[in-house]
Amino acid sequence: MNTILKLMPKGACTETADIADRKSGRKMISIEGLAKCYPKRGGAPVTIFEDIWLFIERGEFVCILGHSGCGKTTVLNILAGLSEASEGTVIADDSEISGPSLDRAVIFQGHALLPWMTVLGNVAYAVSARNPRWSRAKVREHAASFIAKVGLSYALDKRPSELSGGMKQRVGIARALSIEPKMLLMDEPFSALDALTRGTLQDEVRKICVETEQTVLMITHDVDEAIYLADRIVLMTNGPNARVAEIVRNTMPRERARNELHHLPGYYDIRNHLMDFLVSRSGSFDVEAATQAGWSAKRPPVVEIGSGV
């Protein structure tokens, strides 16, 4: 008996409303008509994804969920300014993204620590990039305080090769947080970890992000992780020509604990909905049929499942 409530786009919505929204300062990121093509050897270029529209509000935690190869990393890299879109623009804080910025910190799919530096060195490198004028002692102190936040104070002088996978990812998180970015971009940060470590790290990240009201875009293909962390979950169809099929608004209460999440009413409704999407609908999504039924790339349907509130 699950009540599925679809908030279909209102036909009257105009672009001026979008711009007004953006001007009001609630919008952190506005992805507008993004597409990426790669040239294919001896053939027409492949479009990995196209016509992606997505808005992220300040303080929001958004997860992108989709199958391997649908272009999640590519979207994130465009947001990070590391690669260029073939079409469309991304507007961050009222200005178009034209390259990497210290305002948007990236936690990479591999940990991407510099192996010749210690834990402290890796974080301090980021801190001094952000604050070039700080004294050595101040950089060190600031870096150490962020390493303490992820519970690695005892490993300051260790090198990445001496750390476990979970510890490396923690250092990556400390490095990203230490530059105090306006936005955090995370690319499957926990996918290479065992379940136990993943759980504790999810707790830590959620705690830090809630405390600091951090705006986050995170990529995952773990349904439970998305439900635990996200305010909104963006569902992408399979590539090539991937689209945003719909956006699921997470109705779990804001105060939630990972261990009790699956006892909450409505949890399994959301989980089943997401699983159904990944198992069948992500592959069979048909743009034309969906458009006939009222789907639009600019305003993908926002879905609320159950009444968990």
Binding site: L102, V106, A112, L114, A129, I179
Partner: protein
């Protein structure tokens, strides 16, 4: 485990050396005693003061000559009679100078080529053509243009040691993991600082490997170069002792060249251990 295997291998290598020395001694002294005493003393003196056999000195003779050479390595008694230490110093100075010049040119150039696909495409064919040329082939050209034998030898060392450094630096810089570069880019580190703090340390092990190959080649080539240009240096020392028919001194020189070469290599191996990182 590791300790015992190291002791075992050094024991074995000592045994091999002792065996070779014994065979060498047996070969050089056995026929020597009888024949040498019956032969014309002047002829024996011409061949070698007190060595027997077919003029091949025994290990004992070599040892004696080695001690004698090393007890006064830096004497200078005219152009054709200098101590082995002095000659080695000339060679080492040339090698180090040529090597340093090659490093100053090769490493930064390799860095730029490695970072720029355009330059890499443009210069690679030229490098591929010049690299396989024997460094000694440059010698006449160097002598003709520089007109100084010592500087020509340095130029030859420069030419032979630049290629491994250039090629390795290019390769190391071009193959820095893109995620490390992305770390620098997302932190908005300016390009020059990025080159020094990310690309250089990441490529350093490959660069030092190139330097290690270079110094080895330079030490090989200097002997041949000095044999050609003459004057000073360990290569000239060997050539001179050959003219003196002093086989024993030539063997001494071979041993000393080997030891110095090993020391040079181990020095760079030490640097390499310092800057190599574990992923």
């Amino acid at each position: 485990m590791k300790q015992t295997s190291r002791i075992q291998s050094s024991l074995l290598s000592c045994t091999i050396v002792v065996l070779v020395l014994m065979v060498w001694t047996a070969f050089t002294t056995q026929s020597g005693g009888g024949v040498a005493s019956g032969a014309d003393p002047a002829y024996a003196a011409l061949m070698n003061e007190d060595a027997g056999g077919a003029g091949i000195p025994s290990p004992l003779d070599v040892g004696r000559a080695l001690v004698q050479q090393l007890s006064d390595p830096f004497y200078d008694a005219g152009p054709n009679d200098k101590g082995i230490g002095l000659q080695l110093a000339y060679s080492l100075a040339r090698v180090l100078l040529g090597f340093a010049l090659a490093m100053i040119v090769g490493v930064p150039l390799g860095f730029v080529i490695g970072m720029s696909p355009l330059l890499s495409g443009a210069l690679n064919p030229i490098i591929q053509i010049l690299k396989p040329v024997s460094p000694l082939a440059w010698m006449p050209l160097a002598l003709y243009t520089i007109k100084d034998s010592g500087q020509s030898a340095i130029f030859v060392i420069f030419i032979c040691s630049i290629w491994p450094m250039l090629v390795n630096t290019t390769f190391g810089v071009a193959n820095v993991r893109s995620e490390w570069l992305n770390v620098g880019r997302t932190l908005e580190v300016p390009p020059l600082k990025r080159a020094l703090t990310i690309i250089l340390p990441a490529a350093a092990p490959t660069i030092v490997t190139g330097m290690r190959i270079s110094i080895g080649i330079a030490w090989l080539v200097i002997v041949a170069a000095e044999m050609l240009v003459g004057g000073t240096g360990i290569g000239y020392f060997i050539w001179n002792e050959w003219n003196n028919l002093s086989i024993v001194n030539i063997i001494v020189a071979i041993l000393v060249i080997g030891v110095i070469g090993m020391i040079l290599d181990q020095m760079l191996a030490g640097i390499s251990r310092l800057i190599t990182f574990q992923e």
